[in-house]
Symmetry: none
Subunit: 192 residues, 4 copies
């Protein structure tokens, strides 16, 4: 009985395990064996499916970014006015899927990964471009031509809050994080 169609299952399991492992270790200094064990398979199989450690990391990163993008897309679809669109983007960043300790740690480490992996760098840049584009678009009706600059600041603030969370004790509170960012946004809107 040949097992068919295992590939997507295995890959998904490995990606999930990778994020968890990075989250737990707090660094990229984890072994393929650890990942594979957590995913319930041999390290040889992990190599078989991904070709190498780098590609496992990249897949995990791609997945994290994709989940995030999907959440933003979903939230945007619900939003009916600019203000709501803005809040949707920010809130999605702090939603339960993303703002968990292990995802935060993984996120931080993806920035590190990007420092020596051109592929990771490219992924991160694409993410940034989309984020800023989304923000800018939502902001245009609210702050006029200051939109790109405000988008930049919001994006930076967003990552900054994430970064600070990585030092925090206790479980991260998404709502508080979102408010920290939205507070700034409202200030800009008041200014008009």
């Amino acid at each position: 009985m040949p097992k068919v169609g295992m590939e997507p299952i295995r890959r998904a399991a490995l990606v999930k395990a990778t994020i968890e492992e990075i989250g737990q270790a707090g660094s990229l200094d984890i072994t393929v064996s650890q990942i594979a064990r957590r995913a319930g398979m041999s390290s040889a199989l992990a190599h078989h499916y991904f070709g190498g450690k780098d590609q496992i990391f990249l897949a995990a990163m791609r997945h994290t970014l994709a989940v995030y993008a999907a959440q933003v897309r979903g939230a945007l679809m619900m939003a009916e006015d600019p203000q709501a669109r803005l809040e949707a983007i920010v809130r999605a960043s702090f939603s339960g899927q993303n703002f968990r300790p292990e995802v935060i740690a993984a996120w931080l480490n993806f920035y590190v990964l990007a420092q020596h992996s051109p592929n990771a760098m490219r992924l991160l840049r694409v993410y940034h471009k989309r984020l800023k584009s989304n923000l800018s678009h939502a902001l245009r009706p609210l702050v006029g031509e200051r939109a790109p600059m405000v988008a930049d600041r919001i994006a930076a603030l967003l990552d900054g809050v994430y970064l600070h969370r990585s030092l925090g004790e206790g479980p991260p509170e998404g709502a508080a994080g979102a408010e920290q960012v939205l507070g700034y946004a409202r200030l800009e809107m008041e200014r008009g």
Copy 2:
């Protein structure tokens, strides 16, 4: 060349080399040998003076934080009113000593180090506490009781801008970074 009193010289050379090496590699994944070679000595001597890799990293981190703290202190001494104090803190963060690519990369990696090194975590928390305390103090006359919250946001924005810089191409422009942060601060001040 004297054969005594080398210790401080060697230690300083190793710390400098460590920061450069982390900066160049973009990660903590560097060898003691690399560091030692860059510092012009054998890896055995590096171990002799620091006891181990972890302590070399910690020393590099301590040094980075100390340089930063010294800059802030120096800038604060020049400042004569609250507004100037605020600008001093922010500008020091983006001054030539700190806002260089290798230091930015090192900074990012110290956040990673803090994820698994309690000592590194402690250092980073102390740095944060001081930064927020400094900011809060300067902000009090400017924004009243909103000071702690604004200080939090500024601190986050500061780190966020640094983080984004780690993805940027070309040399980092300190002035632009400082403006990005101060722009937000002014908004809060206008609100009063």
Copy 3:
């Protein structure tokens, strides 16, 4: 189906190689690489199967002790009266399996190992306890209540003869060693 069942083979080969290597070097100052090379594999594999140098040593010790115990047990089964039992124990100690130069050297070094390895110490104490128990049991009908004391002396004499052999030139002669010990035993028996 992968290549399976190598583990016991590899472990046995490593244990054997360890004893030989200790015997040849005359000390525990041997490298895992030497052992592995002699056993026909990479040092990495040795670590894979044993976890570390200490455990390789312990396994070698356990094996040596087990072989010895098995020999004694075997000899005891043949013996039909107390005198024969006593001789069986002593002669087994000097049988071809045990009284070879490399085993003698290994034995000596296991005593050293026991000085800093609690596990080795425990193994050696168990061996001693069994040896004395065996001797005492065999001696009871021969020397009465002096049995425990005589057992102690025989055990000490036994190890002493081994120790002296480790200094001897030429091949060790088991028969002579056995006689040296049994001579004392007979003296005690004559006394009744």
Copy 4:
């Protein structure tokens, strides 16, 4: 003020420290630095005086053997008849100077050292020869021509008791050890 005549003091301190260090570690696996530190000097100086680690070990061994020999000589001078001579030799072996845990451990390790150091081997053989000669001489009037054989056994028993002590818990009791050996000797004498 030039320090003159330091050499014998330094050498003695190093020898003493070596024995203590071996005793504490329970093996020869100690560093020159440890020895030198315990002796209150730099490792460079230790090398200066002895030339190398091997020679430090040899000196420590020579010293241990010399102390032992001196004790035996001293005790023999007091003895007035063969029986007393015999007891003197045995009791000296278990006297306070020799039968201390660290000396026992050192002794054991000298046997190991002899396995790969021809010089150590030679020293140990000389010691053995003297011991047996002394014993044989004392035994001749007591057991006649069995003297050499009995001397052999006593020597072996002596080392065996030492060896067993190295596994013992608690402080070694010299008197008990001596009795264990002398008990055998008396048996032989009774036989005549």
